[in-house]
């Protein structure tokens, strides 16, 4: 069949009229097809095609997912293709066609017409660094057929002649970045591998492997008779920077400068520092300098000043540390230059923020980095938090509120406590409500949602921004009286949500087996307490504000030695270590209670009890006390964690807190649970055959989401499903707990047996079974769906 190529398509592409398939879907012929190897990723090949419309020819790159077409031979030299999804990217006046999808109309065909390389002739090429296979967007293909062959070999002919129509060569043939710049220099950075004909050498051009911590020495040193154009560098916007950019210069203001850090990694030691830049277009990028370069520039850089920076290399940004909205970061080397601009440029802002409202924070993911601004409604003094490893860090928290009507706790760590923290404290104490802007704060899920500072955070007090003024105005007018809903809960001793569970759930849900311990609350009765070893001798030496409490060993002479503190003491503390067996209506388990909980349970201090038993040998009194403990019901807050004891995994539960059972509130909790059961899936009467199985779903199962505390049925359902996801064991029975999708109708009950509403399966006229006296409240809801009439157990014939 005769296929005709879209005449003039290439011309249009070159002129910019056509940039994507939305403009035109051209039919072109492949007049060249070459495979390029990416040295950085030799497993991936890239194919470069010469696309012709019969009169003009242009280079295009094939997206790697289309590679198979070439391999299978569908797409070959002479194929006529229709570009169904492509993009023409302009990078520094060069156009590169990236083909993402195409249709092969004819695999094999004679070449139509005589095409010449059309479009822009880029006479100059500049070799770039940091060529990455995957950054398709910035791949460039220069025109210039004659140089095509050089690409793969990685040769640079630049050294041979300054001819500009030589293609610059890059070790990584995958994309031959060739950008035009006004300069006649062929190569702006050593990565071009100039003069290095060997592939592998070219493979390791100094700055194109930005992963190395130290910039390799520049390979070129004024090689080649090319004149370097130092004068009047073109300033490009930060957002246009890419690894394929040629020689670039940016003019920007330093918004943040980090300290000079020493590091040592397997490759050796070094030092590094980084700073962030912001330019007139709002582009931001981080600049990193290592070792010698760091020394060179560290003193030069001052936050707030404008600098012209050129000749750095680009590499992908490390999102862990770099929270700027740029995919790349700059690495400077010896060839880079930083020049300060003394004349002010008002176009370049001092700082740029992307504020979110506090209301948004609620829905954001944990650990995301954000900027936020608000009014400080309260601030508390610095406290010192001792971490497990013993280091003490200052921490200060404040409440920040904004126009969304929500407030959140902002936690400052380290230096922020003293510097900004103190200032804020002073302002607040004197009755003011300062505006605080936080840049790069991290969202944490501690006590609901909170924002905390990280190393690279910045705090601005009463800044001079539009948003700050707006906030202040709002606050004056209404903010003061508007009640703010806090996203962060008050810091309670344990800070956990009260997750009510039954003891059987510990086993069923395999609590404690994941990496982190599980914190749950159970309402149970103590049925037995081990009398032997109810306490141990403990070290009384204070470590910060807590006693060491490690077990001390007797030295024989009446003194006691603590290994951790490495000291001996005359008098040791006695601390409880009670092994208790607790039971609720579902199951029983052993738990360990330490000092605080122990005292609460026993009603007497460990030391006194020890004396009663051992010193006074008052058996009767001792027994009395022990007996009183048994069969007392409490609310236990447990920390459940799986531990390994010589090859065996055992789930251990520690009592963190003990509360006397308040029947009234406990009953309310249970009533709520019952309600939830009802709204969740009608009246679920799944009876569990296994004795331990019947348990009720806890109230707030998902600790992270419950900040607003609403219990609307739809959310209940959602949460339950989440619960089901990790509930194991019972699934055998739970099938169809026959729930009718109730969708929040709390009042009608539906029968599992016949599916009608108005009665429950026990009363169902069609059922002849007797309801069993088991605790019906426990329903293990299977999946939600509407299993009309699937009944858990009895298979009464009628349905």
């Amino acid at each position: 069949m005769e296929v005709s190529l879209t005449a003039g398509a290439i011309g249009k592409i070159m002129s910019g009229e056509v940039t994507t398939e939305a403009d035109m879907i051209p039919v072109l012929q492949v007049t060249e097809l070459k495979q390029l190897k990416a040295y950085q990723d030799p497993t991936r090949e890239r194919f470069r095609m010469g696309l012709s419309d019969g009169t003009h020819l242009h280079q295009g790159m094939l997206a790697t997912d289309l590679n198979d077409l070439v391999k299978q031979g569908t797409l070959q030299f002479g194929s006529i293709v229709r570009l169904t999804h492509f993009g023409v990217h302009v990078v520094q006046t060069r156009r590169i066609v990236i083909v993402r999808e195409l249709e092969v109309i004819k695999s094999n065909s004679d070449i139509i017409g005589r095409s010449v390389p059309g479009g822009k002739h880029n006479d100059q090429r500049v070799a770039d660094s940091g060529v990455k296979l995957n950054t398709t967007g910035s791949e460039q293909r220069g025109s210039g057929v004659s140089q095509v062959n050089n690409i793969e070999t990685g040769r640079s002919n630049a050294a041979i002649s300054p001819q500009v129509d030589q293609r610059p060569v890059f070790g990584t043939g995958s994309s031959v970045p060739a950008s035009t710049t006004p300069s006649t220099r062929v190569d702006s950075n050593p990565s071009a591998g100039h003069g290095v004909p060997r592939l592998d050498h070219a493979r390791d051009p100094p700055t194109s492997y930005p992963r190395q911590p130290q910039p390799p020495p520049p390979m070129y040193a004024n090689r080649g008779p090319v004149a370097r154009n130092e004068a009047s560098p073109r300033i490009i916007p930060i957002n246009a920077l890419s690894p394929y950019s040629g020689r670039w210069t940016i003019k920007a203001r330093v918004t943040n400068k980090a300290a000079l850090k020493q590091y040592s990694n397997p490759r050796g030691e070094g030092k590094v520092f980084n700073f962030d830049l912001l330019d007139a277009d709002g582009g931001e990028i981080r600049v990193t300098c290592f070792n010698a370069v760091a020394d060179q520039f560290f003193d030069q850089i001052v936050v707030g000043n404008l600098y012209l920076i050129s000749r750095g290399s680009l590499r992908p940004a490390q999102k862990n540390f770099n929270h700027l909205p740029n995919d790349y970061e700059i690495m400077l080397d010896n060839a880079s230059t930083i020049k300060q601009c003394y004349e002010e440029d008002a176009a370049i802002p001092r700082q740029q923020f992307h504020f979110c409202t506090i209301g948004d924070i609620e829905s954001m993911e944990n650990n995301s980095i954000i900027d936020v601004i608000g009014i400080v409604s309260s601030i508390s003094p610095t406290v010192t938090i001792t971490r497990k490893n013993g280091t003490a860090t200052p921490k200060r928290s404040l409440q920040l509120m904004d126009m969304s009507g929500r407030s959140v706790e902002v936690t400052m760590w380290g230096n922020f406590c003293n510097a900004e923290g103190q200032m804020l404290q002073n302002l607040c104490d004197s009755g003011g409500f300062p505006v605080l802007a936080v840049k790069a704060g991290r969202i944490s899920e501690f006590n609901g949602k909170a924002v905390s500072t990280i190393g690279s955070s910045q705090l601005f007090i009463d800044p001079d921004f539009v948003e700050a003024h707006k906030l202040k105005d709002w606050f004056e007018r209404e903010g003061k009286s508007v009640p703010c809903i806090s996203l962060s809960r008050e810091f309670s001793g344990s800070g956990r949500v009260d997750v009510r569970k039954t003891i059987s759930q510990i086993k069923d849900e395999k609590l404690g087996t994941s990496e982190k311990p599980d914190w749950i609350t159970v309402s149970a009765t103590i049925i037995y307490m081990k009398v032997e070893n109810f306490c141990y001798t403990a070290c009384p030496i204070m470590n910060g504000d807590r006693p060491c409490s490690k077990k001390v060993t007797a030295n024989g002479d009446g003194t006691w030695r603590c290994e951790k503190c490495d000291k001996s003491v005359d008098e040791c503390d006695y601390r409880y270590i009670l092994q208790l067996q607790i039971q609720d209506h579902t199951d029983l388990t052993w738990v360990t209670a330490f000092q605080e909980a122990g005292e609460e349970i026993m009603g007497i201090s460990a030391k006194d009890l020890y004396y009663v038993k051992y010193e006074h040998n008052d058996e009767e009194k001792f027994e009395d006390i022990i007996h009183k403990v048994a069969f007392t019901k409490y609310i236990f807050k447990l920390k459940v964690k799986e531990e390994t004891f010589s090859d065996e995994q055992r789930v251990k539960a520690t009592v963190v807190k003990v509360d006397k059972l308040n029947y009234s509130s406990d009953t309310r909790t249970i009533l709520d649970a019952i309600d939830k059961l009802k709204t969740g899936d009608g009246s679920s009467l799944s009876i569990n055959i296994k004795p331990e199985g019947s348990h009720y779903n806890a109230d707030a199962v998902n600790t992270g989401t419950g900040s607003s505390g609403t219990r609307d049925p739809s959310s209940v359902q959602r949460r339950d499903f989440g619960l089901h996801a990790h509930q194991s064991g019972q699934s055998g029975n739970h099938y169809s707990s026959g729930s009718r999708p109730h969708g929040g109708d709390a009042t009608t009950t539906s029968c599992n047996v016949c599916g009608n509403s108005g009665h429950v399966s026990a009363n169902c006229p069609s059922s002849t079974t007797e309801p069993q006296g088991q605790y019906m409240g426990g329903s293990y809801r299977g999946t939600s769906g509407s299993y009309g009439g699937g009944i858990p157990r009895q298979h009464v014939g009628s349905y």
Binding site: S664, T667, L671, S683, T749, A762, P771, M776
Partner: protein, 107 residues
């Protein structure tokens, strides 16, 4: 435990369903005379309890077990002082559940 004559948990509204049957309820005492005690049920309806030997002194809350005579009167056989603090809302919910959805668990 003697389960020969179970009594249904009722509040004011449910009492009428059990006329002639044995019921139990907790009332908040509002007044007492010889032979009868008047109180408020957990759902705020007035209940009169007749019978011999109410305990004295009466605490605020009183549980009575007896036969329901009408929709607001009970002939009590057993009286128990429940103290001065009592969560009426919980009890009310209990009555509703015990006679509604979970009736099969009780009687």
């Amino acid at each position: 435990m003697d389960t020969s004559s179970p009594s249904a948990f009722v509040n004011g509204a449910l009492l009428r369903r059990f006329i002639g049957q044995k019921v139990r309820t907790v009332i908040q005492v509002t007044g007492s005379e010889i032979g009868s005690v008047v109180g408020k049920s957990t759902d705020d309806l007035q209940i009169v309890v007749r019978g011999s030997s109410p305990p004295s002194p009466l605490t605020t809350y009183l549980e009575v077990i007896g036969i329901a005579e009408s929709d607001n009167a009970i002939r009590a056989e057993t009286w128990t002082n429940f103290g001065n603090t009592f969560d009426t809302q919980n009890y009310n919910e209990l009555c509703k559940l015990a006679n509604g959805e979970f009736k099969h668990l009780f009687i």
